[in-house]
C-alpha cells in the first residue's frame, strides 16, 4: 500500500471499469447478495489470491451487464462475477 493509494477513494472492485488498476484494501463479504455465505465467499476470494495489498487490474468485461470481469490479481487472471467482486474493496 503506497501513499498515493491511500489517498484514492475506496471502492468495491465490482464497480470498477475495464482498465482500472488498484490495490486491494480489505475484503467485506457482507451485503454482496452472493449465494455464498460471507465466510465462504471471503475464504474463496482469499484462496484465489484476493488478499490485502495485492495489485488488481480489470482486464476484460463480458457483454451482458459488463459481467463477468477478468481481473489480473498479481500474477494470475481470474474470471469473477461483479456480484462477488463487490466484496473486494480496492483503491
Amino acid at each position: 500500500m503506497t501513499d498515493t493509494n491511500d489517498m484514492r477513494p475506496h471502492m468495491p472492485l465490482g464497480l470498477a471499469q475495464r482498465g482500472y488498476t488498484g490495490v486491494i484494501q480489505h475484503l467485506s463479504a457482507g451485503e454482496t447478495g452472493s449465494a455464498l455465505s460471507d465466510i465462504e465467499l471471503e475464504s474463496r476470494l482469499i484462496e484465489l489470491g484476493f488478499v490485502e495489498g495485492a495489485r488488481v487490474e480489470v482486464l476484460h468485461e463480458g457483454l451482458v451487464g459488463r459481467d463477468p470481469i477478468a481481473v489480473r490479481v498479481d500474477s494470475i487472471t481470474i474470471a469473477v462475477r461483479r456480484r462477488e467482486a463487490m466484496a473486494v474493496i480496492v483503491a
Partner: protein
Amino acid sequence: MELPLLHLALVGTPNSGKTSLFNALTGSRQKVANYPGVTVERKEGFFVTPLGRQVSVVDLPGTYSLRGRSPDEEITRDFVLGKASGETVPDLVLCVADSTNLRLTIRLLLELKRTGRPMVLVLNMFDIAARRGITVDVERLAKELGLPVVTSIAVRKGGTSDLLRLTDEISAKLAAEAEANSWRALSVSELRATQREADRIIADCVSLPARPDTWTARIDRVVLHPVGGLIVLALILFMMFQAVFAWARPLMELLQSGFDALGELVHTTLPDGLLQSFLQNGVISGVGSVIVFLPQIIIIFLFILLLEDFGYMARAAFLMDRIMGGAGLHGRAFIPLLSSFACAIPGIMATRVIDNKRDRLTTILIAPLMTCSARIPVYTLIISAFIPANDVWGFINLQGLVMFGLYAAGIVSALAVSFVIKFFMLRDYAPAPFMLELPDYKMPRPKSIAIGIYTRAKMFLVRAGTTIFSMMVLIWFLASFPQPPAGATEPAIDFSLAAMIGKALAPLLAPVGFNWQIAVALIPGMAAREVAVAALGTVYAIEGGKEAAEQIGQVLATKWSLATALSMLAWYIFAPQCASTLAVIRRETGSWAWMAVTFTYMLVLAYAASLLTYNVAVALGAG
C-alpha cells in the same frame, strides 16, 4: 529385503501439471488439458525409481485448499487426510506448483504441512518460468519452507529426473513415525495469515520480472472482447461443423469404397447362405456403416483437443457465463457441457467441479442433450441422403449448415430445459458464483493431441467391435430368422422376427412418420446411438437381397420421405439412446430416480419433437 511399495500422492492447485507429471512418471495417458478442473477422479499408477524402489503414485483433482467445496475437491481432501475408506495415507506428498504462479500453491502447501505428511514441493513448468525470466532461489525456498524443493518440466523428456533422484533419496530415510495430523479447516483469518506468509516467502525467494505473458494479453484482447469474443466463439463452432463435413468427405468415401469392395469380395467368394449373409449384411453393412464415420469423429475431437490444450475453454466459459446464467446454469457448467459435444459421459463426470448440488444436478440432466459424437453418424447419414450439398451464399455448405442447426437445436433445448427446471422447481434462486482462473495460453503439443485422438479413435473402434458388433449379431439374427417358407414370394425379411417386432411397434411410431424398419433399429439403438445406423444398414441390406450393393444412404433416399428423415433428425436431438450415459447419471447422482427422470423427459421431448416435425413437414408437402 524387499522394501514395501512407496506411496506418493500428487496434490496441487488446478492446472499446475499434476496429470502431466503423473503421465511422465508412469507412462500413462491420462487426460491433460490447459484449463482448471480437468482431473475429477483419483488415478493410481506405478513406476520404479532409478535405484529400483517400487512406487505407487496417485493423481488427484486440483484444489486451492483442503476444505473440499465440490465433489472433486473432496476426493483430494479425503485422500490426503486418509479419510477415504480402505486407503493408505500417502508416504510422501508431492505438492505440484506452476512455477510461473507460486502464490496460491505456496499457500496451499503451508496448509498441507499441517497434515504432518512428509512433503516435497515440485516446481513444475520450470521451462516457462525460465523463458519468462522468473528466477527462484530453490535452496532458500527449501530452507524457508522446511522441506525439499525440486524443479521439473513434466512435458519434456528427462524433465522429471531431479524428482526421481530426490524420491530415491527421501524414500531411503523416510521416518517411520509420521508427524501428528493437526489439520483442520482454516478460519478466514488463518487463511489470510497463510497467504501473507506465502507472499513473504515468495518475495524473499522469487524474482519476478514485470513482464506478464504478452501473448496471452494480446490474444485475450480479441478473444475476450465483449462483442468480438462472441463472434470468434461462434466462428470457431461454425468452422468445426463445416470441417466435420468438408474435410472428412474424401476419407469417408475411401473407407466406404473399401467396405463396399470387401462386401463384394465376400459375396463372390462365399457360397450363398447364412455365412455369406452374416458377413455381408451383418458385419460389413452393419458395423462397417459405423466405422465409416471415424474421420468425422477424429475431426471433432481434433478441434476440441486443440481448444482445450490451447487454453480457450476457460475463455469460452467466461464469454458464456451470463448467457448460461440467464438459463439458470452455473458458470462452471460450460466446460462440462462443451465436453459433452465429444461424449456426455466425460461431460457428466466433469460436473464434479460444480460445488452447488442443485446446479450440478441440472447440468447432469441436460448434458445428454448436447450433440455428442455418437449422433454424428446418424445425422450425417440422413443429411447426406436428403439434404443437397449446395452452397448457400456461395461459400456455406448447406449440409454443414443443417448440421450446425442440429447442434444449435441441442444447445438451445438444453438451455430451455435448464430454464424450465429453474422456473418450475421453484428453486430459491440466487446466481451461484463463478470464479475461474484463466490460464495463460500454451502452444498445443502435437504429442498430446496425437495421444488424445488415438485414445478416442481406439475407443470408437473398440465400441464398434464390441457393443455395436454384438447388437449387429442380434439384429442380423432377428432379421434372418425364421427363414421364409419355400416358395414364398415376399421378401425374406417379412417373415423374420425383426419384422414382427417392428410391425408390432410401428403403430406407436406411425404418428411421427417412422416405418417398421426404423422401429426395429431404435430398439438396439437404446444401447448406443450409432447402433441405429448399423441396424438400418443390416435391415435394409437383408431386405434388399443379393443385388443390394447400394450404400445405406442411397437406400434411405429411396425408401424414406423427406418428412420421415427430418422427423428422425428431430428424434435424435432428444432421444435418450445411450445406456452408458444413463448408467453414469445413475452413478454420479447416486439415484435411480434421476436416471429415470432423464430417460423419461428425453423420450417425451423426442416424441413431441418428431411429431411436430413430421406433421409440419407433411403439411408443407414433404410427406
